[in-house]
């Protein structure tokens, strides 16, 4: 908000407003092109056929039995994922926040790890454990049971992997709610004669219900829109979901953009509705459970059961870690025969992905470039928007919030399809930059929300005092607000970097030869390289992500200790 000044240093008000209008108009124009246009393109494509407005196609699409089937699968998979993620997340959160379970400090950060990892790699590695015949768990259990109990190529398998990977969402939300809950509410229940368990079930959990429900809806929405896991696990078991169907309509010949658009619109409207429900839930009850700050809730003594708690938590971590170890084994074999064979030990797969396979090498490089540049741009845009929203009185700011938050409701595959439709005949199509743009838009809500809370935490008086000291708005922002939020921005940058590195859905719609990202390269490699090579690439991606997680932890703990000092 630079200011044109007259000789006396005063400013005509209309001019002042004019600058604001220009700034706001620029933001709206940017959001219109990057957020509204792709979504509008999808909706437009869905209802407008060659001969004009038409609902015949919609009727045709929805009368197809495979779509009915895919819709049912999508709902069932998402619901099962919610049940698993919900029960695991709530249980672990309660154990960590409210019980005297041993090793809590160790478990807490570990429980978050799946949050940062790629579920596609998860799906890939779960095949090693639970493929119907050669999965390790099956080959071990079959002699005992007389039959192989697990089939990862099923609705159950998909939901299982998704549930494991999304449990941290529920965990995080619930933990936050439990940690900020006033202990008096629980103590009052105890004083009224409730047992520990009754207190937990009748008081603690209901008070956390908005947070838990909201996390569950988030898991449902994300699961409904996820693409990579059903692609890897669903197709072999003939389980299609809406997202794999959308992809099929685009990828198969002849492609059917109209059908893809109709399915995308349906999926989009569905997730919008659920997100609206989530927001309604949060708005109504959020503040009733959250009271004082800096308060440390009392823990419940579980007695000997605390070891059971630790066992449950350890089991969850095993479910996360063991498949990756199995994948590691696969990656060290020239061919996977269902079990590890010393004679097949080789590093050739790593050599292949690091030095030979062009797709793998390119995927790695592309992802590093997109994620580095993209995370930087996303952080910059988030910061700029957060400053405009929090630190100016420009008009029509609420609209900016709505538009920037809209992508949170859009499944990646739908957004990717939108970008495809909107930009296919521009020079941007077929470049890394379009994929990067899709990433930035898709995760703008994440970036903006986190940045806004950082900015909000900085007292307004800090920059107002800079203004009173003679600094312009821009100077006050760059010299006071930005330096103060910078440490937090680094963590947001890393979070976005990690998210971009493992992104699948939007990339799948937008990649072309030469612009494969790491996850796409993984899927491509699975198409022609031996299993061990895909395994090696998956292991590399996981190591890269784990490195980032370690860095995030390091930074945030450093920040906490510096704040405490």
């Amino acid at each position: 908000m630079s200011v044109a000044s007259t000789a006396s240093g005063s400013v005509r008000l209309p001019l002042f407003r004019g600058h604001g209008v220009i700034a706001v108009a620029t933001i709206y124009a940017g959001l219109a092109v990057t957020v509204v246009l792709p979504l509008a393109a999808v909706l437009f494509q869905a209802v407008v056929a060659d001969e004009g407005l038409s609902f015949a196609k919609i009727r045709e699409v929805f009368s197809s039995p495979s779509i009915v089937d895919a819709t049912v699968n999508t709902v069932v998979v998402s619901a099962l994922a919610v049940v698993l993620a919900g029960s695991v997340g709530v249980t672990l959160a309660w154990l960590v926040a409210r019980s005297n379970m041993p090793l809590k400090r160790v478990f807490d950060p570990l429980n978050m790890i799946p949050f940062y990892l790629s579920s596609v790699v998860g799906a890939l590695s779960w095949q090693v454990i639970a493929a119907p015949r050669t999965g390790m768990a099956n080959t071990w259990l079959e002699p005992l049971l007389g039959y192989a109990p697990f089939n990862i190529y099923s609705v159950w398998g998909i939901a299982f992997v998704l549930g494991l990977f999304y449990a941290p969402y529920v965990y995080l939300f619930t933990l936050g709610s439990l940690q900020s809950m006033d202990a008096a509410l629980e103590e009052a229940a105890r004083m009224s004669g409730a047992s520990k368990l009754q207190t937990a079930v009748r008081v603690t959990l209901p008070l956390s219900a908005p947070a838990i429900l909201s996390a569950c809806i988030l898991v449902f929405v994300t699961s409904a829109g996820i693409f990579g896991v059903p692609l890897v696990l669903g197709v072999p078991g003939r389980v299609h979901t809406l997202s794999t169907l959308i992809y099929r309509y685009i990828a198969e010949y002849p492609s059917d953009f109209a059908a893809a658009a109709i399915l995308s619109s349906a999926l989009f409207l569905f997730t919008v509705a659920l997100t609206a429900l989530q927001m309604a839930l949060l708005r109504g009850r959020r503040f009733t459970t959250v009271t004082g700050k800096g308060y440390r809730p009392r823990t419940v003594d579980l007695g000997a059961w605390r070891w059971v708690g630790a066992g449950i938590n350890a089991l969850y971590l095993l479910f996360v870690i063991v498949p990756f170890l199995a994948l590691l084994l696969v990656s060290l074999q020239d061919a996977w025969t269902g079990s590890f064979e010393w004679a097949r030990l080789t590093l050739a797969n790593y050599h292949q992905v690091l030095f030979v396979d062009v797709t793998a090498k390119r995927g790695l490089m592309n992802s590093l470039v997109i994620s580095t540049v993209g995370a930087t741009l996303a952080v910059a845009v988030s910061l700029l928007l957060a400053l405009v929203l929090q630190r100016t009185r420009l008009p029509a700011r609420q609209g900016i919030v709505w538009l920037s938050m809209l992508p949170v409701t859009v499944p990646g595959i739908v957004l990717g399809f939108g970008f495809l439709v909107a930009f296919v005949s521009t020079p941007l199509y077929g470049t890394l930059w379009l994929i990067m743009l899709a990433y930035i838009v898709h995760y703008l809500p994440t970036g903006l929300r986190n940045t806004e809370s950082l900015v909000q935490a900085i007292s307004r008086e800090l920059d107002e005092s800079a203004r009173m000291s003679g600094a312009t708005w821009w100077e006050a922002m760059t010299r006071v607000v930005v330096p103060l939020v910078a440490p937090g921005m680094v963590s947001i940058w890393l979070l976005l970097f990690v998210t971009f590195i493992r992104e699948v859905s939007a990339s799948m719609m937008l990649f072309t030869y030469g612009t494969e990202t790491m996850s796409i390269a993984l899927i491509r490699i699975m198409e022609y390289e031996p299993y061990g090579v895909s395994g090696a690439f998956g292991v590399l991606q996981t190591l890269l992500l784990l490195g980032c997680v370690a860095l995030i932890r390091q930074l945030s703990s450093a920040r906490q200790s510096s704040q405490a000092a």
Partner: protein, 367 residues
Amino acid sequence: MPVHVRGLAKTYGAVRAVQGVDFTVAPGTTVTLLGPSGCGKTTTLRCIAGLEVPTAGRITVGDRVVYDDAEGIFVEPERRNIGMVFQSYAIWPHMTVGGNVGFPLKISGRPKAEVEERTRAILQLVGLGDLHDRPAAALSGGQQQRVALARALVHEPQVVLFDEPLSNLDANLRERMRTELQLLQARLGFTAIFVTHDQQEALSLSDRIIVMNRGRLEQEGTPQDVFQNPATAFTARFLGYANVFAGEVADIADAGKVRIDLGDGVLLAARWRASEPARKGERGTIAFRADRVAVEPRGTVPPGDNVIAGDIEAAAFLGTFIDYTIHAGPLQIKAEGPVDKPFVRGDAVQIRISPAQCHAFRAADAA
């Protein structure tokens, strides 16, 4: 440098935070905006600072118009050359003390040596001469206050605004800072505008006090004038008048003297404070201070004007005096009595209050 505020208004959506406030601050004096939270005092101050864009009105600092809605003038805060001390002090934690205090000079592009020199000089003046290189995050509350003050004064503004600057300090420190502020102002000669909700602070610091209520200017005057002659029931109550009762004008004597009927035959003579003369029978409000009430054993003086019989309902020993709650007919009167002749609960007393100490207002004024 004088500050003129004319017809200032500020609305937030449907909320009218400030509505039509006018006042003038004479050069080199201290004016305090006093009122409860939400009265519009801080908004007024922030409008003068330029941190809020008013909805209407005109503000001039010296002979320069910094805001005028009719002419469409709005000067950005950084161009107003006004210093400000914030309630939270707003010390930037990522800079040193010197970095904080020198910021206004640096931002205006002064040479490094000058910045250094003036920063050290002002730090000396506020008594923090040796803290120049200390990280600002490691300061005590009082030190932060001084840093904030030094930063507001370092570029020698002619007007300095103070937003509840003492409210975060403990009582002892507050006393000391109050005195130091007065000394500094005497030395540097700036015009000061304070915002506070603390009447003691307002009374002790100011040349003039402006009492605000619901976005309007309620009363303006010297501390003595405002304290002794509240113009409205609101001002009276806000300045600690413990006894405020509603009644009816019974009769009107000359020279603005009235008698207010408080019911059950209790009549009190009082000075009529409203600008328009009282009408017989209209609703009125009466206010008097607890320390102006004399409490005596029943029958000490014969019943007469402004002598009311009552019983001690509660007595609380407060060190230098005893706080009485007295039940007198329809009224519950607060009074302060000496500690050497205490009454106890149930004692029959009579209270006496001089008509000169009783202020009567038109009922509409009673907020």
